[in-house]
Amino acid sequence: MLIELRAEAFDPWREVQAYQANFQDLAGKFGATAVFVGSMRDFNQGDGVSAMSLEYYPGMTEKQLQRIVECAQSRWQLLNSLVLHRIGDVKPQDTLVLVAVWSAHRGDAFDANRYIMEELKSQAPFWKRETLSDGRQRWVEKNSDGYAH
């Protein structure tokens, strides 16, 4: 398991590849890798967004993420997990969050990945402050349910 907060931009696909290269002992053991990548949009709630800052609660954020992943590991058969989340200043198109899980079978991989992501959204202490296209700044008050059509 690896959980990290990143102050610099990262390439999620390289991160998955690099992390997976480190567990040769699991080669041939996993049949499913579920990867979720969340990126910053350039719009929110009908407004253009040009930049964003991510605040967090040092110590508590890491603790909550650890708990979420441990809970997923107890509920599903996971061989490994990777969670990366940006902090500080981000810009549109940047990756905000990466959740990757490795399992023998797709059911556990899909379900655990989604569980981690939904729990992160509702439990991990992060707060977004947006800078809008017209220069105004605002705190995002709540996450959307993520299932808008």
Partner: protein
């Protein structure tokens, strides 16, 4: 040992600082701690609280040496 009180995100803006210290002889609830510190500022709604980095409800007790965090709903991911 005082109680260290920390504010995050929009609450930090509302309060105008990121930290307070509260010296109190007997355990008091999270809600009472807010009232002691901000007699003229009603409890924000919605409000989340943590004692020693664990989520608690507003009736939970805080005591000497604890760290109390106040913050709005989280918006990560």
């Amino acid at each position: 040992m005082p109680i260290r009180v920390r504010y995050f995100a929009s609450l930090k803006d509302k309060v105008g600082r990121s930290e307070d210290e509260l010296i109190y002889a007997t355990p008091l609830s999270v809600r009472d701690a807010w009232r002691q510190l901000h007699p003229n500022l009603p409890l924000p709604e919605p409000l989340l609280a943590a004692v020693n980095m664990e989520y608690v409800d507003l009736d939970a007790l805080v005591q000497d040496g604890d760290e109390l965090g106040f913050f709005p709903p989280v918006t990560g991911g």
